[in-house]
């Protein structure tokens, strides 16, 4: 589905069926250097099980127009603009990595627009090492390799994603290679610079779920401790044998965590 937001196309995958705003809305927000396709199984399932799904391509990513936005706060404002454009008053926000910070920012600042938040592969602060940050600026191919290698805990994830026969390491690399030059640095700077996490976490008034990969070295589970302390009543699911590419390495575990939380 294409919406017009701030004068640009805003693309949302709707789960393989038409978006129905009368159903409870789920907004999926991808991470740095990604697009909606990282959510394909989870968003498709939930769209066929009673939810209206908007799995977004953020500005400058995938099929959405405009330039990549330079801060988590700016992305959050854009997501709200998407909700406005779609005529959605409230939605559950499901974010991965950078997208989890966007979800947190919205939940902490605009509680009236949020029913629930699910933060997947999250950490706060989401510091990026100087080596990686510099590589995103100076050598994107190297940066993509670094992120790709660090995002996977195994070279034999089963049952693979979106289905058997897919080599998810190659799939993730190709996806990152599709994103326009320069976006990667913008995204990682935004993650690294976001400083309002604790404040926003303390302001979260809706139910919150954290889904963490036990073997995640991009966003180590220890990096979520502040969020676990600061978000009142949050629940955490630790997914075993899973790195930062949670939705690809353990698609069923992520879906099952979301199903239980959203029900």
């Amino acid at each position: 589905m294409l919406l017009s937001v701030n004068g640009h196309d805003a693309y949302a995958y709707t789960g393989g069926k038409s978006f129905n705003p009368a159903l409870p809305t789920l907004v999926f927000i991808h991470g740095a250097q990604h697009d909606h396709s990282v959510w394909i199984l989870q968003s498709r399932y939930l769209a066929h099980h009673g939810y209206g799904v908007l799995a977004l391509d953020l500005p400058g990513h995938g099929r959405s127009g405009g330039a990549a936005l330079e801060s988590v706060e700016a992305i959050a404002a854009w997501v709200i603009a998407v909700l406005d454009a779609a005529g959605i008053a409230k939605a559950a926000l499901i974010g991965h990595s950078m997208g989890s910070l966007v979800s947190l920012e919205i939940a902490g600042t605009q509680p009236a627009r949020v029913t629930k938040i699910a933060l997947i592969g999250t950490a706060n602060p989401m510091r990026v090492s100087p080596e990686l940050l510099n590589a995103t600026r100076d050598d994107e191919a190297l940066a993509q390799d670094m992120v790709n290698i660090w995002s996977h805990s195994t070279y034999a994830a089963k049952p693979s994603n979106p289905g058997p026969g897919f080599w998810i390491v190659g799939e993730n690399l190709r996806l990152m290679q599709r994103i326009k030059p320069g976006v990667m640095h913008t995204d990682f700077v935004a993650c690294n610079a976001y400083a309002k996490g604790r404040e926003r976490a303390a302001a979260v008034a809706c139910p919150a779920l954290l889904v963490l990969g036990a073997d995640d070295i991009m966003a180590h589970p220890k990096g979520a401790r502040e969020l676990q302390t600061d978000i009142a009543g949050q629940r955490t699911v630790l997914v075993k044998s899973c790195g930062h590419a949670l939705m690809a390495e353990q698609p069923d575990a992520v879906l099952d965590a979301l199903k239980g939380f959203l029900a």
Partner: protein, 432 residues
């Protein structure tokens, strides 16, 4: 901080896609000889059928053993997804049928395996898919042959029978300029010698029967989606970018940004054409792939020794191998194939068809048969087998002479192979 690195080729050849079995601890990939897989409940069943969860339903569509092989070939090629098929021919058909239909056009190298030529020149024409064949070295001919209806450029990384080296960088760019993919048959090179995706190709297939299996035991094919072609930007592939009624209006390019081709090839092609690899064959091909990095250097080393021997033998008229300076693709081969030009090549002995027959019939180690890529050395005499009905002048138009032989050099002691060929050449000469 040291930059992280991916596992090397040798490690991927053994581990990509396979981990110890979580139920039993089995270290080797188990052979899941089962047609079908039990659903946890009705919702699980429905979600598998509707592609909301990943998993196995029925072994025509996917199977855990076969999936390991599929992931492994994708990893070794640097691609995104693999699809295992009943044969190499099935892989070629699946690749073409996924993106071409009645009214579509293919531009293909004329230096093709005979089976591929038959499919394109006869069978697919019956289904409305037209092919123009071109000299693989004539880039202007490729360009001139492209039509608005062209959907793919296709050739072999090493052509048949003269080992024409496909100019992947130039043809890959030509394909992109015309918004179509370049598909290659990489059977003779395998990912050990050449990774076509690194040089401009977008789709790859193998007859896994050959070097990937490596032991002449099973028939199989593998199709790889490189994930590096933008089907949406092309605008020429509604099969991938518009709703497909055959799967509840699925738009494959929305489901997968990088590999809608692989999705449709499995969800339509394996489902409907059904030319699936069986898990026993997948297991045997996996066994071969696990030693590919050990076998291919030896195949090449033996081939080089035999090429050197043949070029100096007085009964040999010519040898066609791209590592020889007189081969038209000598320079290109140095760029694309620094590890070697494989172990299948042709040479011509002096003399007529009878001399050729005496040659093959006197060999004791080389087996006279119609296959390549076995651990054992193989030979075929086209003029008395595959082309036996073809007149001499027509043979020469195909680059084949009455004394042309095709060798597939195996893993035996190279001195024994040379002794065997010496015996054959002597026999050919005696009757002359």
């Amino acid at each position: 901080m040291a930059a992280p690195k991916y596992p090397g080729f040798d490690t991927l050849a053994l581990h990509a896609g396979a981990a110890p079995d979580p139920e039993t601890g089995a270290r080797a990939t188990p052979i899941y000889l089962t047609t079908s897989f039990v659903f946890r409940d009705s919702d699980h069943a429905a979600s598998l059928f509707n592609m909301e969860r990943a998993g196995h339903v029925y072994s025509r569509i996917s199977n855990p053993t076969t999936a390991v092989l599929e992931e492994r070939i994708a990893a070794l090629e640097g691609g995104v997804a693999g699809i295992a098929t009943a044969s190499g021919q099935a892989a070629l058909h699946l690749g073409l049928a996924t993106i071409a239909g009645a009214g579509s056009h293919v531009v293909a190298s004329r230096a093709l395996y005979g089976g591929s030529h038959n499919l394109l020149d006869y069978t697919l024409r019956r289904f409305g898919i037209d092919t123009t064949f071109v000299d693989p070295r004539d880039i202007d001919a490729w360009r001139a042959a492209i039509r608005p209806t062209t959907r793919v450029l296709f050739g072999e990384t090493l052509g048949n029978p003269g080992l024409d080296v496909l100019n992947l960088p130039v043809l890959g760019q030509l394909a992109l300029d015309h918004k179509v993919p370049l598909m290659v048959d990489s059977t003779f090179t395998t990912p050990y010698l050449l990774k076509p995706l690194d040089h401009g190709a977008h789709l790859i297939y193998h007859s896994a029967t050959k070097f990937l299996c490596g032991h002449g035991t099973v028939i199989g094919g593998l199709l790889v989606d490189g994930g590096n072609f933008d089907w949406v930007a092309s605008g020429k592939f509604p099969e991938l970018t518009e709703p497909y009624d055959g799967f509840h209006g699925m738009v494959f390019a929305e489901e997968s940004t990088v590999a809608p081709f692989a999705l449709r090839a499995r969800r339509e092609g394996l489902r409907d054409f059904g030319a699936t690899m069986n898990p026993m064959a997948a297991f045997q091909i996996l066994q071969g792939v696990e030693t590919l990095h050990l076998r291919m250097p030896r195949h090449v080393e033996n081939a080089r020794k035999i090429v050197e021997f043949l070029t100096r033998h007085p009964m040999v008229e010519s040898v066609s191998y791209p590592e020889l300076p007189e081969h038209p693709d000598y320079e290109l081969a140095k760029t694309l194939l620094p590890k070697g030009c494989g172990a299948v090549f042709s040479f011509s002995i002096k003399g007529d068809r009878a001399a050729g027959r005496r040659f093959v019939e006197s060999l004791k180690i080389f087996s006279h048969l119609a296959n390549v890529g076995d651990a054992r050395s193989l030979v075929i005499h086209p003029a008395s087998t595959t082309h036996f009905r073809v007149a001499t002048e027509m043979l020469e138009a195909s680059g084949i002479r009455e004394g042309t032989m095709r060798l597939s050099v195996g893993l035996e002691d190279p001195d024994d192979l040379i002794d065997d060929l010496t015996r054959g050449l002597k026999a050919a000469q005696k009757g002359a």
